[in-house]
Subunit: 409 residues, 2 copies
């Protein structure tokens, strides 16, 4: 409640839907940079813990977020309201490396990016990019590990509930416009490979820690080199001065401080691409043949009520998105999936890659209710009941896992 | 640059387009609450003045706003980016009376509102309203006096440039849904009269200072009793816990801390309605027969560049809205209106009452250019070249007045 004088205590309830097994002290996932997670030991621990925001994100609203570590900060489930855009001050943070020194945003237009694998390779400044074209796209940004807390085999890494996701308005130049000015993509290039401009810690093999991600060249349809987020220059913590935004793709592909974009025949051999962010069987090592965390599937979750409600008519709220496709429909169940009721979308449609808040009125009787939501995209893909088990706990879209148990009295 | 690490210095330039005659020390417009305006004496005064935000809006971004007085705070023209929603932390403030004590947002759901002029008059709590229905609407909020600084006869009141306007996402219950539950509107009621819940200063005739506004009953189509703005509970400074929002209508009709909504045969006899906020000839007193500041007309303005640009290709940005109608088209001229070029809208369409950012690429030669924009709504109404002269300096939609002179080198 820092900057706003909000009072709606019910939306600030701890996430009691987290399995007990996950409510233990866990190490953060940011390697050498990780600090001890603040995810506590009891159901109330989260809201009772003092929350300390690191300096580079001091401007965030501390009461809307859960600080897991210096580089992993989650949006409270109940902090998502019925608006269509996620305010920057409650957007999650997940940085694989510490943000660069703030010098890089002292003169944003001087930021340089090198384009390779095109017929006329070139290094351009952000100031030059800004004159090439502009588009504004609303898109969900979601960490691959969002929903990891619901896995039961105990995958390491940040124990995200629902809050490693937000819906942002991005402004930048379409990558295809830049490529067109540079003579087009060279033949036989299958991937767009983006490299982040973080300063790498000394003494470690760069390939093991650098942020360099490859996505299929089909993403050229929607890829954006973005300098604005939510009507402001992209904050340093979120990849400013320049971020690769690939609407419909998991967060890791949206490379921050992007300093190189190469069209390449193969994928990057950096660890984060070659073996990291892969769907692999539990107990197995990561390898290039496993599915990479690229296009996001359809997903939804309830945002209110989360813990308690009064009996009788209730409005049940949530958010839904189609990932790589537009979302088409959401159903809600108050009996754990036995019976379903169609929800309606609330507010304007921000486009294919945006999420849509939804609402449905339901009469709730006294007692415990398992409230779940299930979304379907425009291609007819429906959110599955169960998650795909995998070693790292990626890509959880299970509607069962994302339900909440609400006590009605 | 407080919360964000923005560096784009060019967008923070002072508003050199203000006529010199307006760059003088002026008293604020908030009556007994007014303090001396910070609008300075020289073209650079604005950016050099220390900016002190009053406590109740300490959470605003000081570098994105101009503090005219404790109750009148303007958004910097260049602080509007290419996003579609105006962040709350840079939204203008214009309160006719000081905000109530923060106690009123300590238990938001306990806020009470009385409905009259319906077949079953009733007092409802905000908690009860929240169960009646919900809608999310994006709408421009604009002060009647926005653009007053461009009038030349020297109307008193805050010297707003373009920044007494923003585009917000509102969530609340449609007033028509509430009325339907209360048996409908009584016959022969022509107005919706809303009363604000401010504490009135003692010793003054309440009718002379209270905020009570009447709008034609046709506004029932879109009127919303709103508890959320931009995905957060409505901040106290902006009318929380509950605000009457009438999309398409000037700001004054969007009554804050609304505690009474009455369907009435005639208009309120409070001064703010009976003689205030009227379009009246210069030198005449306000009177009920004059046009009231209700529906907003079509309007637009450029947001970048504002002062300087480099010769060659430039992207020119701005915002446009249709007021009571949707906006349909925008043209931009770089020669003061001699020749025009169609702009394109940027980003998603948020609906009839929202504004739309626009952009157009233009080649600019060295020298001074008068850059102006001209919008047309879906009914074919085009923004006029000149303002309607009136005593109080209301409703300025002149495209000539809102142009900027940009030095290209």
């Amino acid at each position: 409640m820092s900057v706003f004088d909000a009072s709606s205590t019910s939306r600030r309830a701890p996430e009691s839907s987290l399995p007990i097994s996950r409510r233990r002290l866990l190490l953060g996932s940011a390697g050498a940079m990780a600090s001890v997670s603040l995810l506590g030991l009891s159901p109330l621990a989260r809201s009772e813990e003092p929350k300390t925001l690191p300096d580079y994100v001091r401007w965030k609203n501390a009461n809307d977020v859960i600080v897991h570590s210096a580089n992993t900060i989650e949006t409270e489930r109940g902090a998502i309201g019925s608006g269509v855009v996620t305010n920057s001050d409650k957007l999650y943070v997940r940085n694989n490396l510490p943000a660069p020194n703030a010098d890089v945003v002292a003169d944003r237009n001087a930021w340089k990016i090198t384009l390779e694998g095109v017929n006329s390779p070139q290094t351009l400044t952000l100031g030059e990019l800004k004159k090439m074209g502009v588009e504004t796209v609303t898109a969900v940004l979601q960490c691959s590990g969002n929903g990891r807390a619901y896995f039961e085999h105990g995958p390491g890494g940040t124990q995200w509930g629902t809050g490693a996701a937000g819906c942002l308005v991005w402004t930048g130049v379409p990558l295809r416009d830049v490529v067109a000015r540079l003579g087009g993509v060279k033949p036989d290039m299958n991937y767009i490979t983006s490299t982040g401009g973080e300063t790498l810690p000394a003494g470690l093999d760069p390939k093991t820690i650098m942020v360099e991600r490859s996505v299929p060249v089909r993403a050229l349809d929607q890829a954006l080199l973005a300098w604005q987020m939510n009507d402001e220059p992209v904050p340093l913590a979120h990849g400013g001065p320049l971020r690769m935004v690939i609407p419909g793709y998991f967060g890791v592909n949206n490379v921050k401080y992007v300093e190189r974009v190469a069209f390449t025949e193969g994928q990057s051999d950096a660890k984060i691409q070659a073996s990291g962010y892969r769907i692999r069987p539990i107990g197995e090592k990561g390898a290039p043949g496993q599915p990479s965390m690229w296009e996001m599937p359809v997903k939804s979750w309830v945002t209110a009520p989360l813990t308690t409600a009064s009996k009788g008519r209730n409005l049940i709220y949530g958010v839904a998105f189609g990932g790589i496709n537009a979302v088409n429909q959401v159903e809600v169940s108050a009996d754990g999936g036995e019976t379903w009721k169609s929800a309606r979308f609330l507010g304007p449609d921000m486009g294919r890659y945006a999420w849509r808040p939804f609402v449905v009125a339901m009469d709730l009787s006294a007692g415990d209710h398992r409230i779940v939501s299930r979304a379907t995209d425009t291609e007819g893909n429906t959110q599955p009941p169960t998650r795909t088990e995998n070693e790292r706990g990626y890509g959880n879209a299970s509607w069962k896992d994302h339900g909440v148990t609400v006590t009605v009295s």
